[in-house]
Every structure is written in structure tokens, then in C-alpha cells.
């Protein structure tokens, strides 16, 4: 037995030694420089001569991602960025974003398009000679079918509401509204129980709105009303085109108005297209191992010049240390870097690009000559002067570009509370210094008092290490209605005190500062600001507010309260939370996608905004979304900015800015913030 043990040990040790001596897989010959770089996104470099960096394998692109779950690869159903990244690289849309621009579009599967004078009819000329990965030919019927399928599949867990509104009209955000006014929303069984004639009529309405003409090679889409962001809406992954024959063969909807209800409210786990893909995009889905890796392979039958990369491997590497090692070893070209670990990468940065708000683009690549670990953001790096040689670090950092999500401080104007169901977040429920009445935040001076008490510098420096910018409005750079000079709140405790003194919470017509019978200024208040447990940003926001309000008046008490996510969400939906931080990640880069949820939509509801306020916004939003001229739209949303500020409906807080890393050899990246991930078609390694 001992001899066997010894033999086994020897075998293992020998194998390991052999393995150690084995060479790494042979590196492929570096690819020739690309003939044409059609990204037009990399600004001209002004860097001096620097060390060269070369990847061992220029044909395979490896991304070390943190653990992300791909929900579904069905373009009609996917509504998360991880899924959308794969879809964007395997499927294609009629129009696509023009490089890193968020508001300009170029033809993709549509060669061209025309819009009717009233802005309600779009006619797309469909590109010919385009193949699907499995060999099918793209036809206008495929395009029409894909949009019809999406709209009929509907469901509120899908992105279809973004397409439903242009086709069915504002507020009609699901096919179930056409069937039974939404009574059967997200309930296939209930929807199917409707009168068959009604079901067929709803389907026919959809089919009439999207008509294919295979002979003419066109698809005509007729909208319920002009829709300013229509191209932005169909440029996202839910506008992707699928092969009708392939969908039908694989158990999808057969295109008949008699059967569509069987596919309504599809869930990703039941969807036969959640783990497969057959688009016209530059990459095919070679391997789908959710939780391990996703492999994309170059589609050689692609209608444009095939991708320079042969394969893209998206490795799921949950442990940061492993991802860091992969970057250090040069085995990963890109990696997900948590904000807490950025400093580790920063030390190895040899070149950097900083976003320029004026041009809404990154500036030139600069070599790093000095690194200051104590500084914040881009100030950590000192660019080399002319003639200086950089530190030769292997990574390129890109910093400072505002992202596409924002935190907003939200007040609940009419907090839900009753004798049967007392609200636990508003103390006594009265203006007695130990609580607040349920209409506390309906007073605009109270809301403004809170707004002036917030300290953005502390939030941005302490929580975001300087890598965020204050949001002045609900719009983001690059969209109509974004203005750098828009009115906004800043920390001013004196103004905060003034506003509280002007408030009239007891509704006796006398401002609190002058009220002999006492009001909020003399009585004080106690209110709880809830956040979801584990969300440090929201916790800090609450703590900043609590600290400053106590400075304004020692009788003002804001208690911070961490709630488990389900409880937090439930309380929000029940309109019980008086004061909270709301977050939104945009679907399309358009002001409608921001103002709608924050005024008339999701958050407007959770803030219990009164009808007159909602109606004011509804009017502006209807005009904004119906207008197709960007300049006119900008003016309309300027009104929205002003109204949101005047009423202090909520207080936009911050947008985090970019701080990403790549190997120095990674070229051709389109840095479009609205992309759900990377668009690998333009990327190459050089």
C-alpha cells in the first residue's frame, strides 16, 4: 500500500512539474492593423513616444466580469444590461447609435427611412443580402414580425412598454390595455379568458400598425402620435430583429392572431429563446454557460466586413483578486473593477483620458508621469509634459464621464397612514416634535428647506471619492433639455432655515417663523428616512441630511432606517415612506425616459403627487414626446426642469462618473454611455 501511495504521490508531483514546465498556449500572430477603423470614437492622441504594449492573442478578446446573471437573450423580453450586451452583439436593430453619440442614429438593418410630415408614419427600407447566423435571409416580414411579437408578448417585466406607448398612445403601455384595459396585465390565463374576438382585434391592431411589404422591401410603422424619441427607442435591443421562421420552428409565436395570447407575459425561464441566439449581428453565440462564461464567435457571413476579433470571451469571475491578477497577467483585456478597488488599478495606469463636458466626449489620451494616491479622480494622474516619457503602466484609464443613472431625493407629499394601518415612519403622525403629519411634504417650503440642507460636496467626496457630479436637473448630458446653467439647489443652511420659517404646516395661514401658536420651526419634527440595507450611498445621503437639518434647527430630527429590500420596496409601493432616495437607470437617452417615471410614472406615484402637479407635467411631457425637432424639445424640457425645481418635487442628487480601465492594446472601443456593455464589432487589439 505504501508503495502505491509513493507511486501516486510521485505521479501527481511529476504531473505538476510537467504542467509547470508546459508553455502557455501558443500566441497567435498579431493581426494586421485594421484597414479601416470605422469607430471614429478614439480622439487623436497627443501622447509622446511610450513603451509598446502587445497582447499575446490579438484575435480573442477576454473580459473578466464580476458575477452577473444573464436573464434572457430574447430581445423582446431582455430588460437588463447583462443580457442586452449579448443581444447587442448578436442581434441588430433597424437603426443604431452613431458612434459615441447618444442622440444621432445611423442606418443598420434599415438602409434608410422616411418620416411622414406629421411624424406618425415611419417607412423603413430594409437592407437586402443580410443573413441570420443560421442561414436565413432577412426580409421585411422578419422585421414586422419581430416588432409585432414583442408588442404582443408584452408584460410589465419586459421593455415592451417603451414600444407600446408610441404605437398605442401615451399611457397605453401594454397590450393588455387594448384587450381589457389592463385588467389581465401580466396574467396570461386571465388575458386568454377574454372574448376571442377582442383578442384577435387587439392583435390585428398591432399588425395594422406594423406592415411589411416584402416586394418593396419596406416596413411601415404607424404610430398613435408623433414620438420624438422613436428612433432612440428602436435603436435599443428590444428593437432587434429575429428570424421569423427560426422563432416559429423553435416553439415561438406562429404569427397568427388566434394564438398570440399563448405567449403573452412570457417569463425568461419559460422562453425558448432565453439561452439561444440567431441574429444578424457581427457575432454568433458560441457558448452560453450562465455563471461561467459566454463566448461569442465572429460571424463570417456578416453583411458588413467581419469583426476583427475572432472570439469574445466573457468570463464570469466573481472574485476581484482573480480579475485583478488576470489583468496583471494580460489574460484579460477588460475587467469589472469595483469602486473600492480602483486604487489598485490606478497605481498601474500608464495613460488616461478625461471627459470634457464642453465637447461631451473624452479628451486625448495622455501618458501618466506622476501618480498621487491621495488625490481624487483624474487629479490622481499628472500628464507628461512634452518630451517626458510616461511611467509605462500597462493600463489605460478613462475618467469623468457622467453615467446614465441618477439618485434623486424624493418627498412623499401625502404619506399613506390610517388608523387601521398606522405608518411606522412618521412617528406620532402629528406636528408635535415627535412626528410629522401625513401632508408634511405637501408644503413647498418644507421641501425646499430639505433641498437647501443637502451637502453635495460631502456626498461626492466621501461616498464617490470625487467621482460624481451634482445633478442640476433630471436630464443628462447629450439629451434635449440638458443645460449646464439650469437652476438648482446648493447647500445653504441659512436659506434652508428661511424656507422652514416660511412653511405653514399647520395650515393656519401664518408662516412658521411668525406663528405665535407654533409651527414646524418651534415644534420641530421627527421623521424616518428609509433606505435599502446595504446601500451605503443611500445611507450616507440620509445621514448627511439628518446632520445638516439638526444644524438648521436642533428640533429637526431625521432618523435613518435601513430596511431589507423587500420591505423597503413594499413600503414604497404602499406610499408609506415619507422621505427616500430614488434611483433610475435610463432605458433610452431621452428626457421623456427621466421625467415620466419621476413625475407621472413610478416615482410620481410613490411620492403621491397630487393630480394638478401630475397634470402640469403630463402636459409638458406630451408636448415633449410628440415633438420631433430637438431644439423645440429642448425648450419644452427646459420648462420641465424649471417646474421640477420650482416645486421642489424632488432634488436631483448626483450622477457617478466613469472610471474604467482597459489594457493599453485595446483599440476601437465605442464609449457610448447608453450601450448596455461593449460593442465588440469595432474593437481590436493592437
Amino acid at each position: 500500500m505504501r508503495k502505491l501511495f509513493a507511486l501516486l504521490s510521485l505521479l501527481v508531483v511529476a504531473s505538476m512539474v510537467l504542467a509547470a514546465c508546459a508553455t502557455a498556449p501558443a500566441a497567435t500572430e498579431p493581426a494586421a492593423p485594421p484597414a479601416n477603423d470605422n469607430t471614429a470614437t478614439e480622439p487623436a492622441t497627443t501622447a509622446p513616444e511610450a513603451p509598446t504594449f502587445a497582447s499575446a492573442d490579438t484575435t480573442t478578446f477576454v473580459v473578466a466580469e464580476s458575477e452577473v446573471g444573464i436573464d434572457t437573450l430574447d430581445p423582446a423580453l431582455a430588460y437588463d444590461t447583462a443580457s442586452a450586451e449579448i443581444i447587442q452583439n448578436t442581434y441588430e436593430t433597424l437603426v443604431f447609435y452613431d458612434g459615441d453619440k447618444t442622440d444621432a442614429f445611423v442606418p443598420m438593418l434599415a438602409e434608410s427611412w422616411e418620416t411622414s410630415a406629421d411624424g406618425t408614419v415611419y417607412t423603413f427600407k430594409i437592407r437586402s443580402g443580410v443573413k441570420f447566423h443560421q442561414g436565413g435571409d432577412l426580409t421585411p416580414s422578419d422585421v414586422a414580425y419581430s416588432f409585432q411579437r414583442g408588442l404582443l408578448q408584452g408584460g410589465y417585466s419586459s421593455p415592451q412598454w417603451l414600444l407600446a406607448e408610441p404605437f398605442f398612445g401615451v399611457g397605453n403601455d401594454d397590450i393588455s390595455i387594448l384587450v381589457d384595459e389592463g385588467a389581465s396585465a401580466d396574467d396570461r390565463e386571465a388575458l386568454s379568458a377574454n372574448d376571442p374576438a377582442t383578442l384577435v382585434a387587439a392583435c390585428e391592431k398591432v399588425q395594422a400598425a406594423i406592415v411589411a411589404d416584402d416586394a418593396a422591401g419596406t416596413v411601415t410603422m404607424t404610430l398613435a402620435q408623433p414620438w420624438g424619441p422613436f428612433l432612440a427607442t428602436i435603436a435599443q435591443t428590444w428593437g432587434s430583429v429575429m428570424d421569423k421562421e427560426w422563432v416559429v420552428e423553435n416553439g415561438g409565436w406562429d404569427g397568427s392572431c388566434d394564438t398570440w395570447q399563448n405567449f403573452y407575459g412570457m417569463t425568461s425561464a419559460d422562453d425558448p429563446f432565453s439561452t439561444v441566439a440567431n441574429g444578424t449581428g457581427p457575432f454568433t453565440l458560441e457558448k452560453f454557460a450562465n455563471g461561467e462564461e459566454i463566448v461569442l464567435a465572429r460571424f463570417d457571413g456578416y453583411w458588413r466586413e467581419p469583426s476583427k476579433l475572432e472570439r469574445v470571451v466573457l468570463k464570469q469571475v466573481p472574485e476581484w483578486g482573480t480579475r485583478f491578477s488576470m489583468m496583471q497577467a494580460g489574460d484579460a483585456d477588460l475587467a469589472t473593477v469595483p469602486s473600492a478597488n480602483r486604487s489598485q488599478m490606478d497605481e498601474l495606469v500608464g495613460a488616461f483620458q478625461v471627459y470634457d463636458a464642453e465637447t461631451n466626449a473624452y479628451g486625448p489620451i495622455q501618458e501618466v508621469c506622476n501618480y498621487d494616491a491621495g488625490a481624487l479622480g483624474a487629479a490622481k494622474f499628472t500628464a507628461c509634459a512634452a518630451g517626458e516619457t510616461g511611467n509605462g503602466g500597462p493600463f489605460l484609464a478613462r475618467l469623468g464621464r457622467p453615467g446614465i443613472s441618477m439618485d434623486v431625493l424624493l418627498f412623499n407629499w401625502f404619506i399613506a397612514s390610517s388608523e387601521e394601518s398606522p405608518n411606522p415612519y412618521i412617528g406620532s403622525g402629528a406636528l408635535d416634535g415627535n412626528g410629522i403629519p401625513s401632508d408634511f411634504f405637501s408644503d413647498v417650503h418644507i421641501r425646499k428647506g430639505f433641498a437647501y440642507a443637502f451637502d453635495w460636496d460631502t456626498l461626492i467626496n466621501d461616498v464617490f471619492s470625487g467621482e460624481a457630479v451634482q445633478s442640476y436637473q433630471l436630464t443628462l448630458p447629450g439629451m434635449p433639455g440638458f443645460f449646464l446653467d439650469t437652476p438648482h439647489y446648493t447647500l445653504d443652511l441659512e436659506k434652508s432655515a428661511e424656507e422652514f420659517k416660511m412653511a405653514d404646516v399647520d395650515k393656519d395661514g401664518i408662516p412658521a417663523g411668525e406663528d405665535p401658536e407654533g409651527d414646524v420651526w418651534t415644534a420641530g419634527f421627527r421623521v424616518q428616512m428609509a433606505y435599502n440595507q446595504g446601500n451605503n450611498t443611500r445611507q450616507t445621503i440620509a445621514e448627511i441630511l439628518a446632520g445638516n437639518l439638526a444644524t438648521v434647527n436642533e428640533l429637526f430630527l431625521v432618523e435613518t432606517l435601513g430596511l431589507p429590500w423587500p420591505a423597503y420596496l413594499r413600503a414604497q409601493r404602499a406610499k408609506q415612506i415619507p422621505l427616500m432616495t430614488g434611483g433610475w437607470l435610463e432605458d433610452i437617452h431621452d428626457p421623456h425616459n427621466w421625467y415620466q417615471p419621476y413625475t407621472t410614472g413610478t416615482y410620481g406615484g410613490r411620492q403621491s403627487l397630487p393630480d394638478d402637479v401630475k397634470n402640469q407635467f403630463k402636459d409638458i411631457l406630451n408636448r415633449g414626446v410628440s415633438e420631433t425637432d430637438p431644439a423645440k424639445r429642448a425648450e419644452i424640457y427646459k420648462e420641465a426642469n424649471q417646474l421640477y425645481y420650482d416645486l421642489a418635487v424632488g432634488v436631483p442628487l448626483e450622477v457617478a462618473t466613469s472610471h474604467g480601465f482597459a489594457q493599453r492594446w485595446v483599440q476601437g472601443v465605442i464609449l457610448n454611455p447608453i450601450f448596455p456593455g461593449f460593442y465588440y464589432y469595432t474593437i481590436y487589439k493592437d
Partner: protein, 353 residues
């Protein structure tokens, strides 16, 4: 011996039954709506339909009814069976986008391969260190081995693993994480490569691809070394203690008095008897490895069952967690059976009693 094995085998179904009761008992702490995941691939999006679904799947019925349904599934009017672990339906893992059985079948070979390659270094070297420490009791070798093992056991696994990554991967680039290089992954997943065992090292040899064998082995080195180093301390201490006790036995003194060579005294007379507790330890160490070396697999991005279980847990994928729990329970029972049989082989008193 045969009788003993039969007796032990007869206990297996009972033990498995007990495991299912325990696991289902834990499941009963979940809300009925959460237990719907046992039968449905996805949660209903419309809250209004939840009560009907709870009633449909008897989730409002007594616990034994629910347990029975969980075991054999629910058959609807059309004769379709939903759920039923006895029929191999462990449910659908949302975090992995596939049935739990498929997930386990996909991940387990990687863990099994790691275990096969790790068991010799972990167990044999650990035992050897323990024997050497005992033989050189309080000598330099003893002290050095003890310090070596204490350092090993004091290192948190993830710290040691990351240290290994930093040295042997990021700096020296000898041993990469993962299971196989991308270049070879493509070959292994192609139709031209026969997957006889789904253990890449073995399949590589059977396919005559020595380059793939070496590449797979390169990926195994760091997990094996990490698992070894953190486990050696336990083996060393148990073996050393057992050996010291055995070496003090009168029969060992007798052997020495008879003039047997010291080597024979130690390895032929003392060591076999000192191995009894080590067999138990080894058995359960192997179980630990088979159930997934969670931290090691995570740090080295090794696609085994441990890292899949972590992902399921962090994704609140209850169905997958249940599947892993049942699978681990099964492995534990089988391992306990094997250990018992080995025990009987090593020590006749066990089977005779």
C-alpha cells in the same frame, strides 16, 4: 464482511429519507409564494394570480402533503408531472438558466477532477508529515512540520489563494486560474473531442491530446496546492497524535525488543494501527472536496460545484440551493458508507462487532 456491507447498504435509503425530511423541513420556513419555485420556472409577475397557484400546488396544505408532492410531483389534468425529485426533477435554476440536474451534471465533473488530483497531495503528504513529526517527536523535523502546518491552518484560504495567484499567475504566469485555456476550451467543446469522462485531464489522454492534458493540469496546480496546504495541518496533527499513541504501545516496544528494523516497526507495525482515525478524517475530507471547495473554487475561478452553489446562494436561487443540499447529502451518505467499509477493512473488530 459481505453481511456488514449489506447491513450498511440497507441503511442508505433510510439516511437519504432523513436527509430529504431535513431539507424539506428547512424549506417550510419559506413563504408559500417562495415555495412556488419548486414547481414553476419563474415567479408569477402578477400578484393576483399567486393565491390560485398556491392552491394549485397544495402549498396551503399540511406539510406532509407538500412533502409528498415534492417527492413525487404534481400531475395535472393533462397528465404532465410538475416537480418530483424522485423522478429526477429538481427544478429550474434561475441563476444558471438551466435545470438543476443539468447544472450539477455540468459542474460536478470539474469538482470530481479536482478531488481526484488533490486527494493524493492532501491526504498522503499530510499523513507523511504526521508520521515524520511523530517519529522525530520534539526534534527539528517535528517542530518544523508543526510550524509549517500551523502557518497553513492559520492562513485564511482566500488570502493564501490570492497570494498564490499573485505570485504564480500575475507575476510568474505559470499557473492560470480557471479550468482550461480559451484556446483549448474551444477544442474540448468541439465535436472532434470525445468526452468520455468529462474529466478533462483523463479525456485529453484518451483523445491523445497531451497538450490539453498539461494545460488542464496547469490550471489544477494552484487549487491543489491551496487545498493541500490548508488541509495538511489537520492530517499532520491527527496522524502525529495517533502515531505517538501507537508508538507507545507495548506491541511496538516488543517489536523493537525483537530487534526489528526501526523502519519496519514504524511502517509495518505502528502506522497501520495509527491510521484508523486518519481514515475517518480522509473520508470526510474527500467529501468536503467533492461537495465543492467553495473558497478555493471561487478564488481560482474553477467552475466546480462549490462556486455554483455560492452563486445560487447569492442569487437567492432556492431551487438550486436545494439541489446542491440534496446532492451534498447524497455524497456524504455514500462517503460515510465507504469510510465504514474501509474501517472494517482496516480494523476487523469493526466488522466482527
Amino acid at each position: 464482511m459481505i453481511n456488514y456491507i449489506i447491513r450498511r447498504l440497507m441503511l442508505v435509503p433510510l439516511l437519504l429519507f432523513g436527509v430529504t425530511i431535513l431539507i424539506f423541513g428547512m424549506l417550510s420556513f419559506l413563504q408559500p409564494v417562495e415555495r412556488l419555485a419548486l414547481y414553476m420556472r419563474d415567479f408569477p409577475k402578477n400578484d393576483k394570480v399567486v393565491p390560485a397557484l398556491i392552491a394549485k400546488y397544495d402549498l396551503d396544505k399540511p406539510i406532509f402533503v407538500q412533502y409528498w408532492n415534492w417527492l413525487v410531483g404534481k400531475v395535472d389534468a393533462s397528465g404532465t408531472r410538475e416537480g418530483g425529485i424522485l423522478f429526477g426533477n429538481f427544478g429550474y435554476s434561475r441563476s444558471a438558466s438551466q435545470p438543476v440536474v443539468d447544472l450539477i451534471m455540468r459542474r460536478f465533473p470539474a469538482t470530481l477532477e479536482l478531488t481526484i488530483w488533490a486527494v493524493a497531495p492532501v491526504v498522503l503528504v499530510g499523513i507523511w508529515l504526521g508520521v515524520q513529526a511523530a517519529v522525530h517527536h520534539n526534534g527539528v523535523i517535528d517542530q518544523a512540520a508543526r510550524i509549517f502546518s500551523i502557518v497553513g491552518t492559520s492562513f485564511p484560504t482566500f488570502v493564501f489563494g490570492l497570494l498564490m495567484l499573485m505570485i504564480f499567475y500575475a507575476n510568474l504566469q505559470w499557473f492560470p486560474p480557471g479550468r482550461l485555456s480559451d484556446e483549448f476550451s474551444k477544442v474540448v467543446e468541439s465535436a472532434a473531442f470525445n468526452r468520455y469522462t468529462y474529466l478533462i485531464t483523463f479525456d485529453a489522454i484518451l483523445n491523445g491530446r497531451f497538450d490539453i492534458f498539461l494545460d488542464a493540469l496547469r490550471h489544477l496546480v494552484m487549487p491543489i496546492l491551496t487545498l493541500s496546504y490548508i488541509n495538511w495541518a489537520t492530517f499532520l496533527r491527527v496522524t502525529r497524535g495517533s502515531m505517538l499513541e501507537t508508538l507507545r504501545m507495548e506491541y511496538v516496544t516488543t517489536a523493537r525488543a525483537k530487534g526489528l528494523p526501526e523502519r519496519d516497526v514504524i511502517y509495518k507495525h505502528a502506522q497501520p494501527n495509527a491510521m484508523l482515525p486518519v481514515v475517518t478524517l480522509a473520508g470526510f475530507s474527500v467529501v468536503g472536496l467533492l461537495a465543492g471547495a467553495v473558497i478555493t473554487e471561487t478564488v481560482f475561478n474553477y467552475p466546480g460545484i462549490g462556486s455554483a452553489a455560492v452563486r445560487a446562494a447569492t442569487s437567492l436561487d432556492v431551487v438550486a440551493m436545494l439541489g446542491f443540499a440534496l446532492f451534498d447529502g447524497f455524497i456524504l451518505i455514500v462517503a460515510a458508507l465507504v469510510v465504514d467499509i474501509l474501517y472494517a477493512l482496516v480494523d476487523p473488530r469493526v466488522r466482527l462487532s
